[in-house]
Amino acid sequence: MSDKKKPVTIATVWLDGCSGCHMSFLDLDERLVEIAPLIEMVYSPVVDSKEIPKGTDVGIIEGAISNEDDRAKALKMRAACGFLISLGDCAVTGNVPSMRNVFDQKECFDRSYHENAQLQPMDPTVCVPPLLDKVLPVHQVVDVDLYVPGCPPPADAIYYVLSELLAGRQPDPLLLTRFGK
């Protein structure tokens, strides 16, 4: 085994979600050690890089598309990654973030920044990306290659999906996870 396989490059982003899917990823625990030599995390909330490298093998998106920043990141991920995974219910269905879709934006802002504000109630104006009218699942914005639902998807499901992909097989995530799991 002298000619070691080049590790698979993986980028992950955390859009509108609770980061639970990334936590679940970390819940792989000792299996991380097993996977670590096979992959290289090139971009992720858990590593310190500023750009998603072009030609990344696998992209994993956690979270729904709620604002312009989310949308821009999703587009960047799609452009940079060969295979894109929608991870978790927020990315796949919109989930909890999308519960604001029945209200209009003003109602949401009033509730969040006025009624519930203890100090200086005001709408945020600077350094905050504008919200989209509706929270969207990732596949409504960019094409997605694999859906891994779950809230969060169990570590077993993530391990299964990654190991199948690393072995060059198409996984069926519904064997281990589903909406709301």
Binding site: T93, N95, V96, N101, V102, H139, R178, F179, G180
Partner: protein
């Protein structure tokens, strides 16, 4: 002399998914398939209740028919050749499930029926891992006015099991259907808050036949609502035996 009438045929033979099966006249395709361990998906159908035929998940192909037929309502006939699981049917069923998810606000992760939901199970069974239809995000409310139960229209798929169990089994006729099309809703009495209903006996049957988290017991948190649907067939059998 007039020809003697022959007794009616007692059994008939047919084919379901390339298996030769026998059936009794008057049985539905779904029943016969189940007798032979072929389970056809469905959400509005429930043993012990009348047939509704609305969810369209149990559609099957019958050779010689140019339309798909609901297996829950179609009676078998001699020589019928039925296909219950073609790629076309699977694709249609997937879209129908997606339609149900897209229609209202099923946020599984925070639903009290999470894990005990037939819609979720059906999604897994039919391979629905995402909904490619746009979510419709309707602004629908919930009715918490009953002391013990809650009606959450966000999770309702209009299978009308609750309406049927309320009228056919409990005999209360509290639950009904109001509005039409995409605005159709389960209503109580003449569309009044459930808690004000004079007819509701608070028997809870509607809650337990409900396939999703649309009808639940109060005081349950996410994923805590456990439904006991099995009571119904026994109840029906016992009643019929009594009669």
């Amino acid at each position: 002399m007039a020809r003697q009438k022959l007794p009616p045929t007692q059994t008939l033979t047919m084919k379901i998914d390339d298996v030769d099966v026998t059936a009794k006249p008057g049985q539905t395709i779904k029943d016969v398939a189940r007798d032979h361990d072929i389970i056809i998906p469905g959400l509005c159908y429930l043993d012990g209740l009348s047939i509704w035929g609305g969810c369209r998940l149990c559609l099957v192909e019958v050779e010689g028919m140019n339309k798909l037929l609901a297996s829950c309502s179609t009676e078998v006939a001699e020589g019928m050749v039925v296909h219950t699981d073609s790629p076309k049917l699977r694709a249609y069923r997937k879209v129908v499930i997606e339609m149900l998810f897209a229609e209202r606000n099923h946020v599984c992760s925070v639903c009290v029926s999470n894990g005990g939901c037939e819609l979720q199970d059906m999604a897994v069974e039919l391979g629905v891992d995402h909904v490619h239809l746009p979510y419709m995000d309707p602004d629908v409310n919930l009715d918490s006015s009953n002391d013990r139960f809650r009606l959450d229209h966000n999770r309702c798929i209009m299978c009308t099991r609750c309406v049927r169990v309320c009228g056919e089994i409990e005999g209360a006729f509290t639950k009904g259907i109001g509005g039409r099309g995409i605005d159709v809703r389960i209503i109580n009495d003449l569309n009044m808050p459930w808690g004000e209903s004079q007819t509701c006996t608070s028997c809870g049957k509607c809650v337990h036949v409900c396939p999703t988290g649309a009808l639940v017991e109060k005081g349950t948190a996410a994923a805590e609502m456990d439904k006991r649907r099995a009571f119904l067939p026994y109840l029906t059998i016992m009643r019929e035996a009594q009669r």
